[in-house]
């Protein structure tokens, strides 16, 4: 279960039974994130055991567009994305295919 954090930070989950993460979407994915400022981030509360893919699906990010997936700045390979990796305080940031130099 993935819930957007209210500004009050109120949680439906029982104490200790949920984790709060920061979720960021960039480039063409930014519009999928409700009500963000220039930091492209929103607070999200998830149940323990939630995977990266759960969050991706919840926010309707097309899986093929979730190209660069960084958990606390570290790349999460496609084969890792279904695992229950998310922990309290994590930052999950996702980009569509981008390049530069």
């Amino acid at each position: 279960m993935v819930r957007e954090l209210q500004t009050s930070g109120a949680s439906n989950a029982q104490d200790g039974a949920s984790v709060k993460i920061t979720f960021k979407l960039y480039a063409s994915l930014t519009p999928l994130l409700p009500g963000t400022g220039t930091d492209h981030a929103t607070g999200v509360e998830v149940d323990p055991g939630t995977s990266v893919l759960d969050v991706i699906d919840q926010f309707k990010v097309p899986r093929e567009s979730a190209h660069l997936v960084l958990l606390n700045g570290v790349f999460i390979a496609p084969e890792e994305r279904h695992k229950p990796l998310l922990q309290d305080g994590d930052t999950l940031a996702i980009w569509p295919p981008v390049a530069g130099g």
Partner: protein, 616 residues
């Protein structure tokens, strides 16, 4: 052959222009552009010569695919000995001038000697004339462009020139073409100005023919274009946000050099990012980015066209800066922004405009200002030196005023024009210069991207991301994802990137195609276009040959393995935040292995066997 087989040789001392045949034997070994012109340079000058003396030469070179219908086939390079590094310099630029040189009937222009008086070269379909430059000397690139266009009444005249920064001896001056494209790095513009050569104005209408196998060329270039269009990075990503899409990425992975590389993450990154360039501003409701743009023949179109907020302090009552011009690329945004701690997007855009207007490298400029800011904080540089300028990290005013001073070479602008290495030496803090071989770092902190540390240390033109962009693999997963924090396999990875890039840089194509193409896509295009047996393998071999030729030039110029290193800060001071927290760059682990895979001695010298194998 896609070659005109003509070289234009301009002897500036004598004021003469002559045509000679292109050395096709060399073209079959070194391909074109970077490789072939480096061969000419290595054969024709003493690598130990003074870069700013008449003994140095400056070559403007196209590749076999320049001016053809191949996607991005409009590139040219400026090859010379660098006054900034003392090493070989090769700066690549897009825009339209490369195509125009080829269409005027030349593959390459070699400038030698020094003109007794300022001149510019007018080249109209094989007719080359040296003209007195009195009316443009002392003017900016933009003014020069306007004056020459007005004079010749030909909007399609393509112009590459130097600005006041180069004339004033700024050591990282660029050669700017088509107003905002530049052969930017290593001070190639400084060499051009030292020869009293202000500009090259070209008009060519001859067409580029002589394709070796037109049918195969059609097929290969069309397939190539389809592949670029279908690839998400080259088909969509680069066009949308340009290279500036990387600003937030590199900050998130903790490899964003910040405040003269003291830190690896910049709190203001999102404010100066590609995303921020799309946000409407309060004053006029427009976004910083007006549109993307393409160089000649390019189907990727990563270029940025931007305006500055008309109410921004830099341009109030200055309508000449209110129009559209070349916007921020990631490298410029990083150097002008994160490295100086400035998060004012309009101030960065203004500084970037000035870099184009008067021709100097925004990377070296930003990094030099950053070093000056650190010394200012330490009290090693004071307002007495700067003429009252408070050079504080984060000060947009300090950044934009510094740019104005470098543009004209006035006051402290002369010192800033020395580049980071000489500036830090002058003010007693050589350890604060974030350079390799005297050239300033680009936008990836090698503590967070280990392979880039090795790529920087061994780059033949000093710190540079474009000589072996392992970021592509280490961070973006192209062609395969590797761990940015590990040194494992990096010597081989760096070598592979360096060799492949040397080949692409010699073809006339843009290196950004390699986000969508491998050499398997490029080789058939080159092979169908020109002589030589070009396969992916033979291109890699040519790339390796070019790399060793450049290395040999540098060794003959007096550089040694001791120059293959990084500043102590990156080797000893661990990253403070992000995934690389606690890490330094482990160059010492990678370098000996790199020499080995290169077939060099432990002292970094190509062995006879290696030179023989590659027939350098």
């Amino acid at each position: 052959m896609a070659w005109t087989r003509n070289v234009l040789r301009v002897n500036l001392t004598q004021g003469s222009c002559s045509t000679e045949p292109l050395n096709m034997e060399w073209a079959e070994k070194y391909l074109g552009q970077r490789g072939l012109a480096s061969k000419y340079l290595a054969e024709e000058i003493d690598p130990a010569c003074d870069a700013l003396s008449p003994d140095n030469k400056l070559i403007m070179a196209t590749g076999p695919l320049t001016g053809t219908m191949a996607a991005t086939g409009g590139r040219y390079s400026v090859i010379t000995k660098s006054p900034l590094t003392g090493a070989i310099a090769c700066s690549n630029s897009g825009g339209f001038i490369g195509n125009e040189i080829k269409n005027a009937g030349f593959d390459m222009i070699i400038f030698e000697g020094k003109s007794p008086k300022p001149v510019y070269l007018l080249l109209e379909n094989e007719v080359a004339t040296l003209c007195p430059a009195d009316e443009v000397w002392g003017k900016s690139v933009w003014e020069t462009d306007e004056i020459l266009h007005t004079k010749y009444q030909d909007p399609l005249l393509r112009i590459a020139g130097v600005g006041r920064a180069a004339e004033q001896g700024c050591l990282y001056a660029s050669v700017v073409n088509d107003l905002h494209r530049a052969a930017g790095r290593s001070g190639v513009g400084t060499v051009m100005a030292s020869k009293n050569l202000k500009a090259v104005a070209v008009r060519g209408t001859k067409g580029v023919g002589n394709i070796r196998d037109p049918k195969a060329f059609f097929k290969a270039t069309n397939e190539g274009k389809r592949a670029l269009a279908e690839n998400a990075m080259t088909g969509e990503g680069l066009g949308a946000l340009g290279t500036q899409a990387l600003m937030n990425v590199i900050n998130e992975v903790g490899a964003m050099p910040t405040r003269n590389m003291r830190e690896v993450q910049f709190e203001g990154a999102s404010k100066i990012s590609g995303e921020a360039m799309l946000e409407p501003r309060e004053s006029d409701g427009k976004a910083n980015l007006t549109t993307n743009a393409a160089c000649f023949g390019c189907t990727i179109a990563c270029g940025r066209i931007s305006t500055i907020d008309p109410q921004h302090y830099t341009i109030v009552n200055r309508p000449e800066y209110m129009g559209n011009s070349g916007g921020l690329e990631y490298e410029a945004a990083w150097a002008l922004g994160s490295d100086t701690g400035v998060d004012d997007l309009d101030a960065l855009t203004y500084a970037n405009f000035l870099c184009n207007e008067d021709g100097y490298d925004p990377i070296s400029f930003g990094a030099t200002v950053a070093a000056a800011m650190e010394m200012f904080e330490l009290g090693a540089i004071t307002t007495k030196d700067t003429g009252g300028l408070e050079l504080k990290f984060g000060s947009a005013e300090a950044l934009t005023k510094s740019a104005e001073l470098v543009s004209t070479g006035e006051g402290f602008g002369k010192d800033l024009g020395l580049g980071s290495k000489r500036l830090c030496e002058k003010y007693g803090h050589p350890e604060l210069s974030m350079t390799v071989k005297g050239q300033e770092f680009p936008a990836y902190d090698p503590r967070g991207v280990q392979g880039m540390g090795l790529a920087y240390a061994t780059s033949n033109r000093g710190a540079c991301h474009l000589r072996g962009y392992t970021v592509s693999s280490e961070l973006l997963g192209v062609p395969v994802k590797t761990d940015p924090l590990s040194t494992e396999g990096k010597p081989d990875l760096v070598k592979a990137f360096q060799d492949a890039t040397a080949a692409v840089d010699s073809s006339g194509l843009c290196v950004f195609t390699t986000f969508g193409w491998t050499l398997e896509d490029i080789a058939p295009q080159v092979d169908a276009a020109c002589e030589g047996n070009w396969t992916a393998e033979s291109m890699v071999e040519a790339g390796e040959r070019i790399w060793n030729l450049e290395r040999k030039f540098n060794l003959d110029a007096g550089l040694t393995a001791a120059d293959d290193t990084l500043p102590e800060r990156l080797l000893k001071d661990a990253a403070k935040t992000g995934p690389a927290k606690g890490k330094v760059n482990e160059l010492g682990k990678m370098l000996p292995q790199y020499y080995e895979v290169r077939g060099w001695t432990p002292e970094g010298v190509p062995t006879d066997a290696t030179l023989e194998r590659l027939s350098v």
